[in-house]
């Protein structure tokens, strides 16, 4: 009798142990196309890992960032896997909030990750997040409109050429703007573009003593050229256009040029969504005559695990799957090579199928290799970053400055006023945060 009881007890205990082993991972992601595609393909993962269940929290970028930051900083423990940018990774890793990813499996091939991307996700040689896709920025332009206007895109276009070409192509009656650029306020919207543009103008956010540089000629040149360019050749409502609005405009054939993230290339060249799919050319991010800097734009969306996670092993398994070569092949098989998440692995750019399917592969790789986040400006700087400054204060500061600059585009503030206020705000914030002694 006693034996049976014991046996039953053992059985139920092992059943319990098994049940406890079936883990549920809660994954926080951003609601862009590649991430949503991943959610649809997870059957492949759960088939291989029947003991792991996946649960998604999909949010719009700003809300997502707000949620995961609050959660990780207060150790709320709501998420097992977080989608974060390469802006957050080094800052969080420094705080000891992220788990080192050292258990990604034998066939993961870490050395295949693009060096620039991998560098941005590592601290002291340890990897703290795995890249899902990566991007730099480049020019996308309409080959037909260029031809019609008798223009030819040079190999390394300067801002001067871009300005001329944009004004020449603009045809208000036909509803075509020469150039579409981000104008919507936000550190990840207009300030991403303007910071990169300022880099290519030879400028910087801060000097070696963390003094803001908005009172310097480079920023004035940058903002002036940008505002005039949008006024002469930009679309209406430019001050509320972000990445997505410009993407729509370009796909509808309303823009002659668009300078933005390289991931956009796969959307504008996709005949399903784009009316100009076969008429898009690509060129490297412009620079100012004589300054060897093409913006240094580098962004990646990555998957990371909060330190102290109870489900670290399962979480790493999932991350290894989602960022593996195998996943790339899975997408290629189901949705075609043009739709695989770009910009993370060297091997992808050596793949013939990809090159054939994606005419933007070579310019994307070129742009990504040109970006150097350890040296964003030609002048010396105390920070790393590219289209952002990798300090915790940048989100708030960048957005405030972005509001001022977007007021310039909206015609509600002069360039000089905006710069003066930006300088004042930055000095204030940096003093408060203890950078300026």
């Amino acid at each position: 009798m006693k034996l049976t009881t014991l046996l039953i007890g053992l059985c139920s205990a092992s059943a319990l142990a098994f049940a406890a082993h079936a883990e549920t991972l809660t994954i926080a992601t951003v609601n862009n196309g590649d991430m949503i595609r991943m959610q649809k393909l997870t059957d492949d993962f759960t088939a291989k890992n029947p003991d792991i269940q996946l649960q998604w929290v999909t949010l719009e970028e700003n809300v997502l960032r707000e949620r995961v930051t609050t959660d990780i900083a207060t150790k709320g423990g709501q998420y097992d896997v977080m989608t974060i940018g390469n802006y957050e990774v080094p800052i969080w890793a420094k705080q000891g909030w992220l788990l080192e990813l050292n258990n990604l499996g034998a066939d993961y091939d870490v050395d295949d990750l693009l060096p620039a991307i991998r560098g941005g996700l590592s601290l002291d040689g340890k990897l703290f997040a795995a890249p899902f896709y990566g991007e730099s920025a480049m020019i996308m332009y309409r080959t037909d409109l260029f031809e019609k206007a008798g223009l030819k895109m040079p190999e390394k276009p300067t801002w001067e050429f871009i300005g001329e070409a944009a004004r020449k192509i603009t045809d208000r009656n036909a509803g075509i703007s020469g150039i579409c650029l981000r104008g919507k306020a936000g550190w990840g919207e207009n300030m991403a573009f303007l910071t990169a543009m300022d880099n290519s103008f030879g400028g910087r956010w801060f000097d070696e003593k963390w003094q803001p540089q908005f009172d310097q000629p480079e920023w004035k040149n940058t903002l002036q050229s940008y505002a005039e360019l949008l006024k002469d050749a930009g679309p209406s409502g430019a001050s509320s256009n972000g990445f997505n609005e410009n993407l729509t405009l370009f796909q509808q054939g309303k823009c002659g040029m668009w300078i933005d993230a390289t991931v956009a290339a796969s959307f504008v060249s996709n005949p399903k969504d784009s009316t100009v799919a076969d008429k898009v050319g690509y060129a490297i991010f412009p620079n100012k005559e004589g300054i060897n800097n093409h913006g240094n734009w580098l962004w990646s969306w990555n998957l990371g695990v909060p330190a102290g996670s109870q489900k670290a092993e399962a979480a790493q398994k999932f991350i290894a799957w989602a960022t593996s070569k195998h996943y790339t092949e899975l997408v290629a098989e189901k949705e075609g090579w043009a739709n695989v998440p770009p910009g993370t692995r060297t091997s992808l750019y050596k793949n013939e199928n990809y090159e054939k399917a994606a005419p933007f592969a070579a310019p994307t790789l070129e742009a990504m290799n040109a970006a150097d986040i350890t040296k964003p400006s030609v002048k010396p700087v105390p920070y790393t970053g590219g289209q952002f400054v990798a300090i915790p204060e940048f989100q708030g500061l960048g957005t405030t400055v972005g509001q001022l600059f977007s007021a310039v585009v909206a015609g509600q503030m002069s360039v000089d006023d905006a710069l003066a206020q930006a300088q004042q705000v930055s000095v204030r914030e940096m003093t408060r945060a203890g950078y300026i002694k």
């Binding site: 306020a185 001050s239 989100q395 203890g434």
Partner: protein
């Protein structure tokens, strides 16, 4: 005897909600006060220390601070004006005999059921978008340049969106009040040969006074805290044109993750809200006593 028993029973019945609200108010308020005297940035927890009044000084010297108070008041006053005046007109209209009254009323109150972020998304993308919005289409078909609402009239755009959400509420309350107006009184006034405007001025409007004060009171409470509409549409810009106090605190708390600063802002906002409340009670409370 009976009264004393009733009294203590009354206190007993009152107790749960008072105690709960007391906790709900005191605990977060105490924590907010505590944090407002701390240097506490969520992204830099190591640097935590006592801050004295630094956070307050920092918050109220924010370049956007005074503009944000002005914007807060502009939103409250603007929306109140539109909803009260619009609400009276609508209530007068709906009080008339019309065909399909039920359906008309349903259509008019519908915006009240729409959650604020959805309302903002709809207005931003469907109605006010300078490229694809309905208003832009209408402007173009009339041969006019489409208005870029959020760049040219940012604060007005916000006021319009929020007014659209609150107009049904005002209309409903005013309409209920209007319908309680004595038919006999109305007819008597008509008999006396009072024209429409006189009837409105001397009979209807005084009768609506209480309803109007109620609308003002309830809406003010909600309007002081408007932020979702701003976050979705303009992000407080261009410049600081649409940054109100609630949004400024939001920016400090969830973009800069400056908990100390945001807490100080929260305390300042509570103080200001209470000033408004006292002011309102003075004006409104008397009206309610009658």
């Amino acid at each position: 005897m009976a009264t004393r028993q009733t009294r203590s029973l009354a206190r007993l019945m009152l107790a749960p909600s008072v105690v709960l609200l007391l906790i709900w108010m005191i605990v977060p308020l105490a924590m907010t006060l505590w944090y407002s005297f701390q240097n506490y940035n969520l992204l830099n927890p190591v640097m935590r220390s006592f801050a004295g009044f630094d956070n307050y000084r920092y918050f109220y010297t924010d370049p956007a601070f005074f503009e944000s108070i002005a914007n807060t008041l502009a939103i409250v006053v603007g929306v109140l004006l539109i909803t009260v005046i619009g609400g009276i007109l609508l209530a007068l209209l709906l009080d008339q005999p019309i065909f399909g009254q039920g359906i008309v009323r349903i259509l008019v109150i519908s915006p009240f059921f729409v959650m604020p972020p959805v309302a903002a998304l709809i207005w931003k993308n469907m109605i006010m978008h300078p490229g694809y919005g309905v208003l832009a289409d209408v402007a173009r078909s009339l041969g006019l340049q489409p208005v870029d609402w959020f760049a040219q009239y940012p604060l007005l755009s916000i006021v319009i969106i929020v007014s659209w959400q609150w107009l049904p509420f005002a209309t409903l309350i005013l309409l209920t009040a209007l319908q309680s107006l004595d038919e006999e009184q109305k007819e008597a006034a008509e008999m006396d040969g009072a024209n429409f405007f006189n009837r409105f001025r001397y009979l209807t409007l005084p009768h609506l006074a209480r309803a109007i004060t109620v609308v003002i009171l309830i809406q003010t409470i909600f309007l002081l805290a408007v932020y979702a509409e701003i976050l979705v549409t303009t992000n407080g810009g261009p410049g600081y044109a649409t940054t109100n106090l609630a949004f400024l605190i939001y920016r400090t708390a969830l973009l800069s993750y400056d908990i100390g600063g945001a807490s100080a802002g929260g305390v300042i906002a509570v103080v200001l809200a209470n000033i408004v409340a006292i002011f309102l009670m003075r004006a409104v409370g008397r009206n309610l006593e009658r």
